[in-house]
Symmetry: C2
Subunit: 684 residues, 2 copies
Amino acid sequence: MIGVSRDPTKLGYGMARNLIQSGYPGAVHFVNPKGDSLLGRPIYPDVSQVPDPVDLAVLLVPPPFVPDTLRQCGQRGIRAVIIATGGFREVGPEGAALEKQCLEIAKGYGMRLVGPNCIGMINTHLPLDTTFLQPPLAPAGEIAFISHSGAICAAVVDWIRGQGIGLSHLISLGNQVDINETDMLAPVAADRYTSVLTMYLEGISNGTRFVTEARRVTRQKPVLALKVGRFESGRKAAASHTGALAGQETAYEAGFRKAGVMRANTSEEMFQWARALAWCPLPRGRRVAVLTNAGGPGVTAADALELNGLRLAALSEETHQGLKAILPAAASLHNPVDMLASAMPEHYCECLRILLADPGVDSVMVITPPPPSSTTGGVARAMVPVIQVTDKPVIVVLMGDRLIQEGVELLRAVRIPEYRFPEAAASALGALSQRAEYLGRVDETLMLTPGCDASRAHQLLAGQTAEQFTNQEVATGLLEAYGIQALKLILAASPEEAAAAALQVGFPVALKVASPDISHKSDVGGVLLNLKDVESVKAGYDIILKNARTAQPDARIEGVHVQRLLPPGQDVIVGVVRDPQFGPMVMFGSGGVEVEGLKDVAFELAPLTRREAEGMLESTWAGRKLRGFRNLPPADREASLAALARLAQLALDCPELGEIEINPLRVLPEGQGAFAIDVRAKII
Amino acid sequence: MIGVSRDPTKLGYGMARNLIQSGYPGAVHFVNPKGDSLLGRPIYPDVSQVPDPVDLAVLLVPPPFVPDTLRQCGQRGIRAVIIATGGFREVGPEGAALEKQCLEIAKGYGMRLVGPNCIGMINTHLPLDTTFLQPPLAPAGEIAFISHSGAICAAVVDWIRGQGIGLSHLISLGNQVDINETDMLAPVAADRYTSVLTMYLEGISNGTRFVTEARRVTRQKPVLALKVGRFESGRKAAASHTGALAGQETAYEAGFRKAGVMRANTSEEMFQWARALAWCPLPRGRRVAVLTNAGGPGVTAADALELNGLRLAALSEETHQGLKAILPAAASLHNPVDMLASAMPEHYCECLRILLADPGVDSVMVITPPPPSSTTGGVARAMVPVIQVTDKPVIVVLMGDRLIQEGVELLRAVRIPEYRFPEAAASALGALSQRAEYLGRVDETLMLTPGCDASRAHQLLAGQTAEQFTNQEVATGLLEAYGIQALKLILAASPEEAAAAALQVGFPVALKVASPDISHKSDVGGVLLNLKDVESVKAGYDIILKNARTAQPDARIEGVHVQRLLPPGQDVIVGVVRDPQFGPMVMFGSGGVEVEGLKDVAFELAPLTRREAEGMLESTWAGRKLRGFRNLPPADREASLAALARLAQLALDCPELGEIEINPLRVLPEGQGAFAIDVRAKII
């Protein structure tokens, strides 16, 4: 520990104190140029004089001294350093330069760095505490907390004490000059004392790598994240609908989903979930039985379950009979089971046993307000043996404060999750179900997209100008190369050419202005539909050119595109935009010109599993409607799913492709396919 | 107190104990047929022997004895009775009959009843405690809690102890045979010790009366409600879109909005809001300054503020200069203000003073995790004098548990609201803003709807069959009577009549099947648009009749309606449905056939203020689009607003009207009005 202080008001004293008090079983040595002694140990003037091999150095020396100290550590053979010192990148360019210098020194010695500007790390099981946090020391438990904020670490360590939960690891990452949140995932997950990983994130260093690493970890242990900074950055204005709708938050959401990371909305929620995930078996389904002694808590629970995507289990006839045998006649035997206020601890115990035995019950929420004729301690004591032997999750709600303390302590001691209100309990049960369902699908495979021609796509994109939309031929060509049917477009540069093209594709036809400068053709009167003969095509050509020139006099106009009119179907929008953090992100939804107003769209990261693609359809009205709606016949959902998977593959294969958007994709009735009517693409 | 018990395990003992321990200053008498004495007082064998005039009787006698006991109370001249006894309506028809009998007895004596099946009432300032809740007694404070659940009362009384807040009144309403939640509003609000009313509601006895009563109360004091049972009842299938979309919850939401009742999502949220509303001045706007000593809490707060509809205040140049003068160079002077971890109590105090002096700051959130170099007690102590003299709300977040206890206690003692996390604090600030804005608009007047002819409407509705749609002429007539322009419809019973009608209304025309049995005309091929000459009208007549007969062979078909085709505009849906609890509820939104899929709709209760009607437009895409969108010109918003107000008035004037729906209402460009193209009405 380099930079210890003998002054109890200094952080350098706090670090030394915690390190000793935490009971680290290895050798601990203090370093400070002033020498002397501290807490019964000598202070060495520099690190070279420290005896023993050294596994880890913790630095709390003023910023200007950090580079030299790092060098000394390197020469001493130390390969792991935590720099707690602040005053680097967070204070401006000078600090950033100093930080860079530190990284270079570390690299030279093959040394890895945590920090700078962090509060250090705690391992409660080793045990090792390298922080200067005020005592009492962090409570030990099975939850790891990895944080981008040291202040949040300080708050969490203290707050969870009151929650009856404990930490395996506390990791403050600081400025992440070397080791970042993604690096920490696998090593922390490998720790046998850790059951659940929780993260406070202000951003992610590399989205794609995070998803890959986290996917590996979440197959073994749950990872929970609180990601803040939702509203920080507006993106630069996007030209396509997909781009405009695909915000940074959408990408984080999709990234967490893909990685199996459970995103919490608040710190409290994250640790409420973590407690349940650490202590409970996973449920086989979403059917919950509620056991309580009054009406109010039951109806509150029923609401909360529904809000969390759970449902009240339908109890079996045997269960009814069993409950009836032990409860008063006025009790409610339907779920929620209301035993009435006269319920004694043994009623809780017996009813719980009966509910758990019902094969239609996946989990149980027990709720007790301060009971009028017994104590919550008694209730808890009666239930514990039942809860300890079941393989179904049981979550207990003890409503109150002083009158429930005995019950709370009893349950915490045996690691049964308890909450103050049904809402938090329902949220925790929702998290357990989410986790169980995730584990049930980790082996899902990606959708296949046979016959894609990446080299043809690269060829088409090769000649294009960055950040400009390609012409229609290129965009349509990309779709053809990836097996997405597109309406044939013929460029006509005169009324006569348009007429000839119409005869070629067959009547009725649509005409659309051909211009690289006009994004939204219908807005400028650049689209005519349902032209049925040569004469109207010729006249239409002139009308469109006149409209377009009037609306956008500076636009380069190449003529009109002639296209056959498709039979009726359902029009949707599909697109891919490349997120700078997470890579290609696929969109599906209600298309047309009002897509940004209606916001009936869904996003997932490429590549897609079938469930992800189906989920995009199910979460939008445009997608649900494809099953048929009133007089609309069922549409070709398979063709829509294939278009999503193929667009995703195109974007993965062609990193030079920035955006591609089909609007509309005309989905014909079942078995008849889907056709891109209009498509736009842009390279990066 | 009738039904006291000498057995300490009985509720009748608990009630006597609480009544004595609460220190009620008036005379207290116990009654039990067995006589004897309790807690140093005699037990009278019946109520007739009790000395003194009696203001209130509390009954806890077995259900069969309740009617006789009530009679005795009546004869004794007692006019207020709380029946705590359970075993009435909640246990079945026999109990319901007993309850009814009690009410009749009470009415005979001019006696008012609370309960039965309740836990009684507490007035902490009188003081009077008639409950059997386990000690300690309810903490005194300024929040009244009115509850449909006794168990929730028991939980809340205990839970709020840990929150540092107290109650003025606790009212358990039980089965509400006489006095209900609405009756309690005005008397409780009139209590000078009560600053905020909170309610746990499982339903509302009479929605319209509740709105009227609550509106009066909320002008004086905030009323907060937690309404459970959101998902309980599916409604019977509705034939109109408006009916299908207007669920019970939508009506409750609209009712609470109209009444100015702030609806909380959870019990915790309700009391977090209540604490802030009881203790803070109201903010002048939604601009919040955040003061903290680290980055993480600041960004968490910024997110939470945005989620609650608040925004970070832009700090003035003076404020920057003032902060700069006292903070280290590396501190962040922009909002959130990050004083850095080195911040001492005097920094908190001085910076808070500076932020409060900024005219661009409406409120301040101060956040401190356990500070490394000071204590939260010190921080709190330094800030209290500043907070006590400002007229702006200051909300403090003390993050942690054990290390913040001193700060928590200090702030609670002087009634400064403190929370554990920025999310709860932001939610409380949001509630303060919501309250301030509500008070700013209580004097808004209703939209005027001159020239409405109610007697004509009654006349039109008089001959109609209940629960069936009226014919088109009646529906259109209702609109005309209320000054809503409707396209003229002519019923034609033959191709020749259709042609004549078309010549009368002018080409182009639309034809629509005329049948009382066909709800969705376009689904059966019953609509033809844009017919331009006599020949196509005649042919169209035959096509429509053939389509309709094929699709619905049993439908009664009267012919076709002939209507002029309107110029282009924006089509929306407007409708009114009569909620059984809250009366006429107006809907606005995206119309067409997909209205139930898109769910782009908003509801308010009739009658409408201009702000309510505008709000319905602003909260839907269909409404926002009326300002113009891409190539759509701005539409006649005024005409849409007028249509909403007039439909609302129609429904208020005609209680026999069950539903009316215009779909679509064609809103023409600004200044050109709005026309009902299709309208359906149904009487109750």
